[in-house]
Symmetry: C2
Subunit: 456 residues, 2 copies
């Protein structure tokens, strides 16, 4: 930037600031008052002074748009705050900041677009909209000179998005690994520590309100994939990682015996979202994975989320905290409101954006990982030798093998045995081929599980 450009920019900014500040406070509108929205409103009424201090100017909540005025809420709201009319927020010229928490993808996307087009700064928690439509929305935000912030879209209260953009900007990241979904982490923690079966742990999570009646989005890993897409887009600066390109496996096929085997081999099992920057492209997947017990994410239990970033020169940095819930998510939303409000005051625009260009995402089969495989075999002579040969023939080498006396049984007169195999880092394609070969051996009864293994 030259001196001349900068002076021009400053003059423009001053005009912008004076325009924005013809009113003496930051006027906020909220769209949606579900779990998160109610916590956002609650914190405002409990801590308005704290929030105004953080901003450096008074803040004022003008309207909250809801579908149903009569719906009972946890928080007592002043008369006249609630409205059912979106235009009360979107078209109010006094409102300069919109908190958009509608949830539904299409409704949110169009509300965000409309608010931005009215010159309003926007804060949202919607990971689906940001992961899928981020590039398009960032372009509109840039045209309109407003902030579009979305800290709460990833990791509830953890605050990794803004850190990646601002504080971590002097670093190059090579990998991101995360426990990105609290529902599945709580189910897996129960399965691991309380020896529960998947179905029972899921029912319990549903009873507690941790899992939805239709849990697909969480248990199949889609929710984690949206978050991983955002993280990978921000961390590597190699373009927008389209969530549709992320390989995704859910947790429903994990058997209680897998937890036992993992434990015996020195691991815990977590649903992991992992991405890395490789010379061939971005690798990104969501799947159950075994983590060494001393891995920084191994102790992240229950509904917590955890994220491990590996970069240079920063090293390995881990963040953990509540991954969901009204209050922690509201904390992240208010952090974004503080940032956007400061930008309104100073005339700055925060470009918390990832590229509009699509990143090259490596096909999962072309990536390399350690794998864990559990199989049931008809026990007999030369089994270890034959299984070993199938792996060797596919250029796959074995790190640990577990065939224990207490995991052998008699089935209609046939000696059965379970084996757990920990495979050294190998091409996913090679391992798939080895497993296919193995499944065709006459002694192989079942390939029970196959998961990835992370290193410490």
């Amino acid at each position: 930037m030259t001196y001349k450009c900068l002076v021009d920019r400053i003059t423009q900014e001053s005009v912008h600031k004076i325009k924005m500040l013809e009113q003496d406070c930051i006027n906020i509108g909220v769209l949606g008052a579900g779990v998160v929205g109610s916590s956002v409103l609650e914190h405002y009424y409990q801590s308005r002074n704290l929030l105004s201090e953080a901003v450096g100017a008074p803040i004022n909540l003008r309207f909250a748009v809801v579908r149903d005025l009569a719906k009972p809420r946890n928080v007592i709201l002043p008369e006249g705050l609630l409205s059912t009319n979106m235009a009360d927020v979107i078209e109010d010229p006094q409102i300069n900041l919109v908190i958009s928490l509608l949830g539904n993808e299409e409704a949110e996307r169009s509300a965000i677009t409309a608010a931005i087009n009215q010159g309003k700064h926007v804060v949202t928690a919607n990971k689906v909209v940001m992961a899928k439509h981020g590039p398009e929305l960032f372009a509109i935000a840039s045209q309109n000179g407003v902030d579009l912030l979305y800290e709460a879209a990833v990791g509830g209260g953890i605050q990794v998005v803004d850190n990646l953009i601002c504080r971590y900007s002097p670093n190059r990241f090579r990998s991101v690994q995360g426990i990105l979904n609290g529902t599945t982490n709580s189910i897996l923690t129960r399965m691991s520590l309380d020896n529960m079966e998947y179905g029972a742990a899921l029912s319990l999570a549903q009873k507690e309100g941790l899992a939805e009646p239709d849990p697909t989005n969480d248990v199949e890993g889609y929710d984690a994939a949206y978050k991983l897409a955002i993280l990978a887009s921000l961390a590597f600066k190699k373009g927008w990682v389209d969530p549709a390109q992320i390989y995704c496996e859910g947790i429903s096929r994990i058997h209680p015996r897998d937890f036992k085997n993992a434990d015996d081999m020195g691991y815990v099992i977590k649903l992991i979202g992992a991405a890395s920057d490789t010379p061939k492209g971005i690798e990104a997947w969501v799947a159950p994975a075994l983590l060494p017990k001393d891995h920084l994410l191994a102790n992240v239990n229950g509904a917590l989320n955890g994220i491990l970033l590996q970069g240079d020169p920063i090293g390995d940095v881990q963040l953990a905290g509540p991954g969901a819930g009204g209050k922690p998510t509201a904390a992240s939303i208010w952090s974004d409101v503080v940032k956007a409000s400061k930008d309104i005051i100073t005339g700055n625009v925060s470009t918390n954006h990832f590229s509009t260009e699509k990143a090259t995402v490596l096909p999962f089969d072309e990536s390399e990982h350690s794998n864990y495989v559990r199989l049931t075999i008809i026990d007999g002579f030369r089994r270890v030798e034959n299984i070993g040969r199938i792996f060797s023939d596919n250029e796959v080498s074995i790190n640990q093998i577990l065939q224990l006396k207490n995991r052998k049984w008699l089935d209609e007169g046939v000696n059965m045995a379970e084996m757990a195999i920990d495979i050294d880092p190998s091409g996913e394609g090679n391992i798939t081929k080895a497993i296919l070969d193995l499944s065709q051996a006459d002694y192989c009864q079942e390939i029970g599980s196959r998961f990835r293994i992370l290193s410490s």
Copy 2:
């Protein structure tokens, strides 16, 4: 702030910006090129484009002041960069940002003061100077309208300082707990996992360059206390916590048997810095403590640091990463340089300050904690009953007690036994009195250890 004030401020800022930007780049001077300084220089020469992009304007390193030009360094530097003359940085009107890494308290304090008085923004890693003299330096920085940033003073690459000031500003924190010193954490990890004695683990850390030849500052907890003082001053916003007021115990008295007892009772041992905001004042201490094995800091091993913040509405948030070392510390310094440079460009001043007023710090004896006590007794009839009575008489209740067969022995014909007691949360004063009473009992041979216990 009223409309009029804001417009005045904007006009002033514009003048400031135009003045600062008569040159087309951010000119930086570095004071000191030890371990951290060398990494700061190395990252600049490896990643100048990345750093300029992060700033949004070109950055230019003008001079690095060192004591000895001839000293061999890890990084190849261009001719003319090094100087032995502080004035080359402090008095160069072109330099608008100084990275101060002198180390020595008095030298650093006076260099920071001089640079600020010349209108230069300052970034430092000096925890002693910031913890002890922060209030005075912040006042000078405010008078001169410059940033004084110090992310690298706490937790190496972890980045908690700026988060507390900016991202976490909408929250109220009630407690901060941290593993704040990598040297002692590495010693304790060895003692715990490899059954080493304190002396051997310390020698090994010294050989690896993790501990200083005189390890006092680390092993007595002073280093952690400076960092805790900064964290507590920022987190609670109740004034400046003077490090001199922090209760401090070192790690040299931890016995290998304490690790065994802790493990049996479900704990690990860490050197913890803990502060909390109580109605009576700030509680702040550094001491060895037992942590439940599922505590979020329990897996923070080796030279890592970890910090757990408990606040509302954010919940419990944990950050972990490399607590020291040239590269991670350099990452934090460059993050501050990016921030200060953006402020130079926009004419903003970041007030990353804690109050100049002193916080009320609660005398340690008036605080309440769970305690762990290890004692050696002459074994005999009614011992448990008598020990129990001494605690009850002092209004102290016992949570767990460990008196194991394998920790009994014969000493010159006398039956000796070791006991480990886990005390429910009680006043420190009461526990001290109970232990005093106990030490006066004829069967009590030795009070071996007394440490605090954190809850999950």
